[in-house]
């Protein structure tokens, strides 16, 4: 009752504290959104592969860029791994020119139609073995390039350039921080190694489906789980530790600031706490009032910060070079819960101050 009435009657004071909580919550949410977004940019397409494990060349150090598998090795992986299904996949980075003239990069994945390497098409149609110059473009590629299904696009690798027709749209996400496009593996092989090269590698990696495949290895290959493959994407480990450090500091500093604000608020109320104690209020009773206030203010801050972060994300996604921020329900729930815990921790420190207040100060106080 007292805690709630004080908020109602001291609107400005509590609005200012609420503003601080809102801004900190917003900041922490954006940092967490950035963490999720960067992860998605790093390799959502890899995590979306219809596979339980991924096989690499054992000389590649789990790098898709450096991994090259011969047709014999692909066959050995299929036979020896014990996978229920297997599909070779080729990767290369290409350039394309945007309408505004800027050169941008894209990740090209070469697959065989009808295998587990085939991505689900959202609109348009899938590739057939006859689509040597057909291309499936991820939504992010279409957004970044300004193209649509039915348009043509010229992809360049080394000195070669080839025109493709976009026949379908995907929502599989980025690959190696680049928007992804999917072509036939035979086309990929031609573009990357040339048509007159019988000893050219047949794939970069092999997608495997089945149980207990991670950790398996054979002559010239090794298989790991998708999670391990993701963590081994160039730059992901460094990026993840940076984002995690930002998140930890965000929670710590955010929590500290919120805690300090509630502590200062409690210090300011020392005379009133003295009076309440003098008239018989227990420390627990006073502490409960402070806790109610902290929870109301923190909830108020979150009620504003969460939609604000969501709206910011939507606004940022409109730009062609979108900031890599993404929110999941988990981001909102976990961040909100942790910030509420931080507010409670802040009040717990204030609780010690409440316990220390001597009711004798009620005598001789001048208002």
């Amino acid at each position: 009752m007292i805690g709630f009435l004080e908020i109602r009657r001291r609107k400005l004071q509590f609005a200012l504290v609420g503003l601080i909580v809102t801004l900190i919550s917003y900041l922490v949410l954006m940092i967490n959104g950035l963490g999720v977004g960067l992860n998605e940019k790093a390799g959502r397409a890899l995590l979306n592969f219809n596979a339980d494990a991924i096989a690499y060349s054992d000389r590649a150090g789990l790098s898709v860029i450096r991994s090259e598998l011969s047709a014999e090795t692909v066959a050995r992986i299929t036979a020896e791994s014990g996978a229920r299904e297997a599909a070779p996949l080729g990767y290369m980075a290409v350039n394309y020119r945007r309408e505004d003239g800027k050169v941008k990069s894209a990740a090209v994945l070469g697959y065989d139609p009808g295998t587990i390497g085939e991505p689900p098409v959202e609109s348009g149609r899938p590739l057939t073995p006859a689509d040597a110059n057909g291309l499936l473009a991820d939504r992010e590629f279409l957004k970044a390039s300004g193209l649509k299904v039915g348009d043509t696009v010229r992809l360049a690798v080394r000195l070669e350039e080839r025109e493709f027709t976009i026949v379908g749209e995907l929502n599989e996400g980025s690959f190696f921080f680049q928007p992804a496009v999917y072509i036939l593996r035979s086309t990929w092989q031609e573009m990357k190694y040339g048509s007159a090269n019988p000893s050219a590698p047949a794939a970069s990696i092999v997608l495997l489906k089945g149980d207990g495949l991670a950790g398996k290895r054979g002559q010239g290959w090794e298989a790991v789980s998708k999670r391990t493959a993701f963590a081994n994407i160039e730059g992901v480990a460094g990026q993840q530790s940076t984002v995690q450090a930002l998140q930890v500091f965000g929670y710590l500093i955010g929590g500290l600031v919120i805690g300090v604000f509630f502590y200062v608020l409690t210090l300011q109320k020392t005379p009133q706490i003295g009076v309440l104690k003098a008239v018989g209020a227990t420390t627990g009773f006073i502490f409960r009032q402070l806790l109610i206030q902290a929870l109301l203010v923190a909830l108020g801050g979150l009620v504003i910060a969460v939609p604000l972060a969501w709206l910011t994300n939507r606004a940022l996604q409109q730009a062609p070079d979108a900031v890599p921020i993404a929110f999941t329900t988990q981001t909102f729930v976990v961040t909100s819960a942790l910030l509420l815990v931080m507010a409670i921790v802040g009040v717990l420190f204030s609780g010690r101050q409440v316990a220390k207040v001597d009711p004798i100060i009620a005598l001789g106080q001048q208002q």
Partner: protein, 231 residues
């Protein structure tokens, strides 16, 4: 049942050794049921310290304070808070109302602290405010009340939980003499009308003489007793 207070050899010493300050030195007195007692003396005579010890705000260094046979000098922590909550009503020098609450809400806080049913507490608060002539001001914030009104709300708050002992510390310090007299008279009427024990600390002899008995303190000692206007 009327309350009986018996103070015996009460002492309060602040600090130790050469720096020790003897605020109250071996004070003893007892009250009669329904009595209103004033304690007078110059600043530093120990009267507020004694009031604080009787109210359970300070622990005596020596001696006993028996309230209906229970020595409250031995109480600690939650027991002491319960004693203050159930048996004592305080009227402070600066009234100490919660500034962001209305007159009525300041009274209801006492019911909250005491865990009393809010419906019956509301009726009691309205009754007390009416008795003290504050019905029209019941929904005014404490900061919107005049000094005299604030002190009358403080008296109502002190009586809210129906305490047996009403302790009053310089209630007229911030009021002119006419308003001060009005406040003390309201206070005495409320305390005596409810058969409670009232202890009033003041340095104003004109106010003290409105009590049944006047205890005079000097340098921490009880140096005299006189019968007041009501005695």
């Amino acid at each position: 049942m009327s309350i009986r207070l018996k103070v015996q050899d009460l002492e309060k010493v602040y600090g130790e050794g050469e720096r020790a300050v003897h605020a109250v030195r071996g004070v003893s007195f007892a009250t009669e049921p329904g009595e209103f007692v004033a304690i007078v003396g110059p600043s530093g005579s120990g009267k507020t310290t004694m009031l604080a010890m009787i109210g359970g705000l300070l622990t005596p260094t020596r001696g006993s304070i028996e309230v209906n046979g229970q020595d409250i000098a031995r109480l600690k922590g939650k027991e002491l808070a319960e004693y203050r909550r159930r048996k004592v009503g305080f009227v402070f020098q600066a009234n100490n109302l919660l500034p962001y609450l209305t007159a009525r809400e300041n009274l209801l806080v006492m019911a909250r602290i005491n865990g009393t049913d809010l419906k019956s507490a509301g009726a009691r608060a309205d009754q007390l405010l009416e008795e003290l002539g504050l019905t029209a001001r019941r929904n005014a914030l404490a900061t919107e009340l005049s000094g005299g009104e604030r002190q009358r709300v403080a008296i109502a708050r002190a009586l809210m939980n129906d305490p047996e002992l009403v302790l009053v510390d310089e209630p007229t310090a911030s009021l002119d003499s006419a308003r001060g007299r009005q406040v003390v008279e309201s206070l005495i009427a409320e305390v005596k009308g409810r058969d409670k024990l009232g202890l009033l600390v003041t340095h104003d002899m004109a106010m003290a003489e409105l009590a049944d008995r006047v205890l005079e303190m000097h340098d921490g000692l009880l140096v005299g007793q006189t019968v007041g206007a009501r005695g």
